[in-house]
């Protein structure tokens, strides 16, 4: 095999890096000009709220990297006093495949891209919580009615909807993982519904190491959450009106909204067996409103008690240790008929004599 020397490829790498940096810098400069007004609450007041951009949320989007002008290319140097309404790109211009897939789905005629996605705040799937996804759906689909309609066939529909983003069942998304997040009880409330995903600021108040939220659990900072770290956190968290909540998230989302026949069958999720439940993540909120996730030690969801004390999927997240303990109890019971029964048979003559 031909050996490639690093020094030969170095100029090419440097050139590419320089080009992307230049493009990003140019976009940033152009963005800054736009944001100087569009992220200024004094200029963009509540009467024209739709023109306001949260700079922190916009900065982490892929749309920020390509720059405002890419989508709003008709903006002139005299904007906004030129009398023209700036143009807006069509999502399909870049996302044709997704658009076609979506248009063909049962949802295609019901809502446009912008009804679910704010292009100035859009994030990749792994940076969005399941609750946020469901909150988008709930803008049109009344939660109470959804629970009621699912209740007709789905046992504990309220629990399922709480633990699954709608897209897990209603798109053909694949490769599911358990993503856990920290929930905090809302002040002054005691009922179940008042546990909400803890916000960045709420967790920052707990003084994590180096101000890094993930270090609340990942104590050694190796970017992997061990089972011990998870257990320790769960012991601590009980006193703080918080809990860990898990949702079954797809790794890759599709836009093929539909009612899938195999989702009527509970075994689609519940009979996947413990092997399918080895991989899980912990999602930490970041300042932009998105989430950064860290991988959790394999099998944490299956831990007997304190790995994920408040997350359990019947049939799938059963603990092997508990199974062994249960089998030992049953075997103890069987010892009576087997052991005693054998001795009873061998000593039957003694009782006949009496």
């Amino acid at each position: 095999m031909k050996k490639i020397h690093a020094w030969k490829t170095l100029p090419l790498v440097l050139m590419l890096a320089l080009l992307s940096f230049s493009a990003a810098s140019a976009a940033d400069t152009a963005n800054d000009k736009c944001l100087s007004c569009h992220s200024n609450r004094d200029i963009i007041n509540k009467s024209n709220e739709r023109l306001y951009l949260d700079p922190a949320k916009f900065a982490v989007t892929s749309h920020s990297a390509i720059g405002c002008n890419t989508c709003h290319d008709s903006v002139t140097a005299n904007h906004p006093t030129d009398g023209f309404k700036p143009s807006k790109a069509n999502c399909k211009d870049c996302h044709a495949t997704v658009q076609n897939e979506y248009a063909a789905s049962i949802h295609g005629s019901k809502a446009s891209c912008n009804d679910c996605h704010n292009p100035h705040e859009v994030k990749p799937l792994i940076a969005v919580s399941g609750s946020d996804i469901n909150a988008k759906c709930a803008k049109c689909h009344n939660l109470g009615k959804i629970i009621k309609s699912h209740d007709k066939w789905l046992p504990q529909a309220d629990l399922h909807i709480d633990a699954l983003p709608c897209v897990t069942c209603h798109t053909s998304s694949k490769n599911y993982v358990i993503t856990m997040s920290i929930q905090k009880r809302q002040v002054g409330n005691t009922s179940f519904g008042d546990f909400k995903l803890a916000k960045f600021n709420e967790l920052a108040e707990l003084n994590p190491i180096n101000g890094d939220i993930s270090r609340l659990i990942d104590k050694n900072g190796d970017r992997i959450i061990s089972l011990k770290e998870l257990r320790d956190f769960n012991y601590e968290v009980r006193k703080k009106d918080m809990r860990l909540w898990g949702m079954m998230m797809p790794e890759v989302a599709t836009h093929s909204f539909q009612i899938l026949e195999n989702r009527w069958d509970c075994s689609f999720c519940h009979a996947s067996g413990p092997k399918a439940m080895q991989k899980s993540f912990m999602a930490f909120p970041d300042i932009s409103g998105g989430y950064t996730r860290l991988e959790v030690e394999s099998g944490a969801v299956l831990d007997i008690l304190y790995g994920t004390p408040d997350f359990y999927m019947m049939g799938s997240t059963r603990s092997t240790a508990l199974n062994i303990l249960g089998a030992m109890i049953i075997a103890g019971g069987l010892m009576m008929p087997i052991g005693h029964g054998t001795l009873r048979f061998l000593t039957r003559k003694n009782r006949k004599e009496h």
Binding site: P155, F192, G315, G333, M336, P337, T347
Partner: protein, 243 residues
């Protein structure tokens, strides 16, 4: 002369409860195995069918348990007498009964316990039934009820340590019931014939032969001469018949 006497040992409400409970518990065990190991076992066609049957059986067992408790507490009023071991039971009775089952029985020795309608259970049975009926069954019913309504009862579930603790407890108690079932059925075959103790739980009447009192009789109530004499004096005609 050989005289056969029948004692009305198990009243009808108790028998109805017993078989309803037995049927319910067996259903719960089978559906429970299906629910915990759906990737290995699928008896009921769909997972949902197993869950619905498990829930239904759970409700039936809960209702029958409530009726059992009401019957023994308020109607018969014999709960404490039948199910709570006395000081002597704890001090010597349990050990004596264990010694009988695991030693004397094999040598053909007599059962130290002689059952009567007022004292049906031997000390070992009392202790076992006390744990089963007044500790494990209420716990499994309570944990099962919480698991049937996880979202609305989340607060209670968090108080008991989260859903993993709850599921773990429910599962291990269920395993105890499964183990108990094997022991219970086996011990019920230790009468003078293997089916002798099943009969009174079916028709209520326990057969007692006075000339040949069964020395191996189990605590389900084989009444020996002395005990029968006591019954003859104290028992009402409605609870005894002689053939």
């Amino acid at each position: 002369m050989k005289q056969t006497e029948y004692i009305y040992l198990t009243p009808m409400p108790v028998r109805i409860w017993h078989w309803l409970n037995a049927f319910g518990i067996v259903t719960l065990i089978i559906t429970g195995i299906n629910i915990r190991f759906p990737d290995i076992l699928n008896i009921f066609g769909t997972y949902k069918a197993a869950i619905r049957l498990h829930n239904t059986a759970g409700v039936v067992v809960s209702i029958s348990y409530t009726l059992w408790l009401i019957y023994y507490l308020f109607i018969a009023g014999t709960l404490a007498k039948l199910y709570i071991p006395t000081f002597n039971d704890i001090k010597t009775g349990i050990i004596r009964q264990v010694f009988f089952y695991f030693f004397q029985y094999f040598k053909g020795g007599p059962n130290p316990h002689h059952g009567t309608p007022d004292n049906k259970f031997n000390p070992m049975q009392k202790a076992a039934y006390l744990v089963i009926m007044l500790v494990l069954l209420p716990l499994v019913i309570f944990s099962g009820a919480l698991l049937m309504y996880v979202a609305p009862l989340r607060e209670v579930i968090l108080v008991v340590g989260g859903i993993k603790t709850l599921v773990g407890a429910h599962f291990l108690i269920a395993c105890c019931f499964c183990a108990f079932l094997f022991v219970h059925i086996y011990l019920a075959t230790l009468g003078h014939t293997p089916l002798a103790y099943f009969k009174p739980m079916w028709d209520g009447w326990e057969k007692v032969e006075h000339a040949h009192a069964d020395p191996h009789g189990d605590s389900h109530g084989t009444v020996h001469d002395e005990a029968s004499d006591r019954n003859r004096v104290a028992g009402s005609p409605a609870t005894m018949k002689t053939v």
